[in-house]
Amino acid sequence: MTDTTKTQPATRGLIPLPEAAARGLLLAGGIATAASAFLAWTWTSAFPGDLTINGYPGGLQWLTFTAGLLTTLFALALYGVRGLGWLLPARNNAPLALTALGGFGTTWFTVIAISNKLGGVVNLEPGGWIAAIASLLPVIGAFALHQQGVGEGSVKESIKAYLTKPDSIPAAQPLTPWLERAVITLVTILGLGVFTYGIDTEYGELFIGYLIVVAFSLWALNTAGLNDRFSRLVAHNRSFTLAMGFLAAIAFPFTQTDDHYANIGVNILIFGTVALGLNIVVGLAGLLDLGYVAFLGVGAYTAALVSGSEFSRFSGVQFPFWAAALTGAAASLIFGVLIGAPTLRLRGDYLAIVTLGFGEIFRIAVNNMDGDSGPDITNGPNGIPSIPDLNFFGFNLGQSHDIGGFTLGRFANYYLLMVLIMAIVVLVYTRAADSRIGRSWIAIREDETAATAMGINGFRVKLIAFALGASLAGLAGTVSAHVTYSVVPTPYQFAGSTPPNSAFLLAAVVLGGMGTVAGPILGAALLYLLPEKLVFLQDKSLLAFGIALILLMRFRPEGIIANRRQQLEFHETGQLAVPEQTTLTDEPATATKAGA
């Protein structure tokens, strides 16, 4: 305490408390929060998750426990406990404030949800009250910590000072290659665990609590500088990390006992793969395509037509999957070129409108090609049902199989197939982005006139981006036709309340982070899970989704996972900004001196 007052005599906390008290409150509060999860919070198991038993936390209580534990760990690191220094390399307050807020958020959400669901606060046991108060303590402690920049401006600015990441994080001790890989492996396993937990949440309240804790924890880790450190490890071990990610993705169905969750998994993968394809068009080449879902539809319909379904126009034809996949991708590619060739000469807004139109034309055309109002190809609104399951060398994807003691159901099989497809798409994306053609896409996005003046044939490279994006969506569509047993026109619309549709695809790209690999996949996962888990929102889900999107664009326009370029673009943290700021603050100082 003495050394902080020596080095930064002017700092103080937002809540006036001695520094020692603030730290004590943090630690005690963190422990109390974690411990309160072991109490009974309510008297009846009518609230899901059974929060009634002393000694056995259930459902949301585990989330409170996790948040409390994290707060405790960070508090101990702040005390300088040996072995925990790596958690808080910059010794900054932001991670503490954020984990404390995470614990507070999820606990209070739970308590309020209990009162709301069961009709009043009388339904809370003393344990619930204790948890609510305990989770408030670390928040008070965190905002009482002495912090630079507090008290100079408004309360809002002070709070901002608590939550911002410091400019420089001390560099980490170099690890041996084996240790680096061990860390990456551990993080991957942890990530798989967290992700699986989210998919397996059984009721909406648990999912919201999960989102609160995960969001605040990730934010805390980011402000602690741990994300940057991890990115550096990843940069050293790129292919190892990719391999680990791939293994983790494969491992997911083996952790599931209920094929329903594998179904969610396979749908997320389809949605994510298509979003990644769209990311080539929007994120790299900067072409706003509002009708992209049509290409998924082209792939799905093509696969359905050659699947051997008795309702298919070509019911006698049954392609092996590899041929069907190639045909679907090729059909989408042809449609991409047909739609792109006339539209890609347009710029900006015009392109968006025209692609929106083409997207709708696809759906309406498919709806009408039923033999009455058009040629008999797609069965109109009835679609093509009874698409047979895939069969690889006698391995029927439609049946459950026992592999090494694990039972893999139908959806788990398709999930594994989709992991393979996604791996291909990720490979295509990364390789294309880091090449002559990828650079010309980015150049076109940045300044089309300058790009053409540098010798880039704008139309040609845009058409390549469009066609590549289309064929990747088509590829995903061929699997999706088999997963859903049938294809109908309705999902392939511009906007709807469930993914995939063009608006959701675009939102997944923008929300996750344009121009990154992980961003659109994460965005797709979130956008798929939200309507799936929050069924109680029902028809209000689109409204909630809209509000969430506006908030995100206001506070983090570069998306959840920031592209290096966009991070600089939106937050002006480039080198030019730093000297500018110092001159700005210097000026009034000299002016007042001269005046006096």
Binding site: R436, I442, E446, I456, L576
Partner: protein
């Protein structure tokens, strides 16, 4: 020196009309290999428009542009492919790409690796990428920005952005480089450095055509200077000839008067400035007390 006489660029009767406005009027223009040619003229004279006609950004209403004897189609990428590269008056770098990436984009026309080669990553692809990078780094050494290869272009100071734009243009291995006001916004020191740079570019066998408002700079550098006034080529010749020409002086000062209006204007401006300055100083004093 037989090379001195081979024309690199020949513009014949180039006219550019925007509706009723004729921005460039029947301009004939030649640049020979090994030459540095200056193009000057008052604001709005049509210099940039003429550049845009040469590089295919505008399709000239009339006239043709040929490079080394072949008529150029008015398509920017084909012009660059043929061997004419340019910079822009208002810097147009790819702001969110790194310095190195900007120069690599300039290599676009001189490399062929398409999508398939990028996806399959055969030995040919790796070799081509490596060669491109080496060439780009050479250019960055040449303009003195090699140490900033991984900086985002938008974060460079102004003078370095102009230099980077030149390097990016040179990456396309042009026979003719068009520079639109390369020293705009530079301090005298940077301007002198740019002068050296232009000479060095010429010594690499690249002809240079440059638009400039800095007269000392342009007359120092150029083997030949052309003056564009209201879209028409008024005078063309060596620095001495152009500097001595009365019509040029008149064009810069306004309509052909004796020069009095210019003086009167200057006096007016000075008076206004003095007036504007006076109250502001008193007010600051007042605040101080």
């Amino acid at each position: 020196m037989s090379t001195m006489t081979t024309p690199v660029l020949e513009a014949r009767n180039v006219t550019m009309r925007f509706g009723g406005l004729t921005a460039v009027r029947s301009v004939d223009f030649t640049v020979n290999s090994g030459e540095i040619v200056g193009l000057i003229g008052p604001n709005g004279a049509g210099k940039t428009t003429f550049f845009n006609c040469l590089t295919g950004l505008y399709v000239p209403t009339e006239g043709t542009v040929s490079y080394k004897g072949t008529v150029l189609p008015p398509k920017p990428h084909l012009v660059t492919q043929a061997g004419i590269a340019r910079t822009f008056q208002n810097i147009r770098l790819f702001a969110n790409m790194t310095v190195l990436e900007n120069v690599l984009v300039g290599r676009h026309t001189r490399t062929k690796e398409g999508l398939w080669s990028a996806l399959l990553r055969g030995p040919g692809f790796k070799k081509a990428e490596k060669a491109s990078e080496e060439r780009a780094m050479e250019l960055l050494e040449f303009i003195g920005l090699a140490h900033k290869r991984d900086h985002l272009a938008r974060n460079l100071p102004y003078g370095e952005q102009r230099k980077l734009e030149i390097a990016r243009a040179m990456a396309s291995e042009p026979g003719l480089l068009l520079l639109d006001e390369p020293t705009a916004g530079m301090n005298p020191q940077e301007t002198r450095a740019t002068e050296e740079l232009v000479f060095a570019i010429r010594d690499k066998g690249i002809a240079v055509l440059l638009i400039e408002h800095d007269m000392r700079f342009v007359f120092n550098l150029s083997d030949r200077v052309a003056v564009l006034v209201q879209g028409e080529k008024l005078v063309e010749g060596t620095s001495e000839v152009v500097q001595a020409d009365e019509r040029v002086i008149a064009a810069y000062l306004g309509e052909p008067f004796e020069g009095e209006p210019g003086e009167a204007e200057a006096a007016e401006v000075a008076a206004a400035e003095a007036e504007a300055a006076a109250p502001s100083t008193t007010s600051t004093k007042g605040e101080g007390q």
